[in-house]
Amino acid sequence: MKPHSGALGRLATLRLLAQRFAFLSLILASFGLMIVGKADTSLMERLRLGVSDALAPILEVVFRPASTIADVVNGVRELGSLRTDNARLREENARLMHWQTVARHLDTENQALHSQLNFIPDPDPSFITTRVIGDTGGAFVHSMLLNTGSLDGVRKGQAVIAGEVMVGRIAEVGQRSARVLLLTDINSHLPVMLEGSRAKAILTGDNTDRPRLNYLSPNANAAPGDRVVTSGHGGVFPPGMPIGVVSSVQDGVARVEPFVHRHQLEYVTVVDYGLAGILPSDNAGEGREH
């Protein structure tokens, strides 16, 4: 556009200035969001959840065909390995039958001992099983969106499991959607222990698929193959929930291979163990509702 007269030229300059100004204010707004998000997390959380609540139904409808396609592909792939799977499962079944006998025996023994000690059991958990509607990919955050929220009783800090293994914990709850922070996320810290030696540690994600064991006492002697379970410290998760196995120990840093496979998660279970927990935001969240 060539300015034909002075007035037009001035108009064009003004327009350019306005554009520059808008551009700069948008950049400043982005920085402002980052700073506010760092300072006041609850405000940003409410904003986030308002939007993901609105998007949850859309995601659910849009991705249903996608998951059907994935199911069909999986079905075809499974046909190929049917024979080997069957043989493996028979063998495993035989082994598990033996374990079942052992477990029954131990269970009765345990109950007898509990009754002798007047042991107060942990409260019975309640479950909500829900669909994963968003596996939010990306190199920087490991999280998933669920299509249940506070209306269904999901609360912040609750454990999320798939089958019997730990997936992560609820990090944000909206009315109809919730975000799960996976074990591998850089912001995930879980109190765990080695199942064999009962040595305590904190499982810290670092955005790789092998989270590391921090604060493990040096004489704990973690070795590859050791099972890692929740320790129950902090009162958020009950003790003994399986997480993974130690995959490597290098330079005193033990890394854990989680049992959960992120790509296979289609349905997960949010578990309320009725433990109050030490998460301060849990109470704050409840306070807002009353």
């Binding site: 948008l26 995601l59 990919g137």
Partner: protein, 163 residues
């Protein structure tokens, strides 16, 4: 009559890419290295139709991306605004150039964007997040660029025919 619908297409398609980024693919190992799809949309439309995807829309798209993915709010917004502004200011260079030029430049722009994202996220988390997944994210984004560029190209051609 449906002029405004056509004019919403660039923003709409780019928002659709944001949603696609949150799709559970159930592919092993894919989630960590899934491409930055909205970046392709922001870049493409900044070259060919900057007035239909202005900086303000890039900001909104970035906001949606952060909200859906769970990255700290403002990170994607800043990156998309910068990509939009930078690309738009150089758009004359691209017009009439072969596809390879746009592709190579996208690789450079995406490298800068993802590196900046990595630095910002590391700063906001007070932790250095690993760079390797970011590099894979970049490679994936560059690899899928031709597909989406082609799709956008077809859309753009249809838009021009209708106008």
């Amino acid at each position: 009559m449906d002029l405004w619908v056509r004019h919403l297409l660039p923003v709409g398609l780019t928002l659709a890419l944001v949603l696609m980024g949150a799709m559970p693919t159930h592919l092993p190992g894919f989630a960590e290295i899934s491409p930055q799809l909205p970046l392709i949309g922001v870049y493409y439309w900044a070259i060919y139709r900057p007035e239909l995807l202005p900086a303000s829309m890039a900001f909104v798209i970035g906001l949606m991306n952060d909200i859906l993915l769970g990255t700290p709010l403002g990170v994607s917004s800043l990156i998309y605004i910068l990509v939009q502004g930078m690309t738009m200011s150089q758009r004359r260079f691209f017009l009439g150039k072969p596809f390879m030029v746009a592709w190579c430049c996208f690789a450079m722009v995406a490298a800068g964007a993802i590196l900046l994202e990595w630095a910002l996220v590391s700063m906001l988390y007070d932790h250095v997040v690993p760079l390797t997944p970011a590099v894979f994210e970049l490679l994936m984004s560059v690899a899928v660029y031709p597909i989406f560029s082609w799709l956008f190209g077809r859309t753009h051609a249809a838009m021009l025919r209708a106008e």
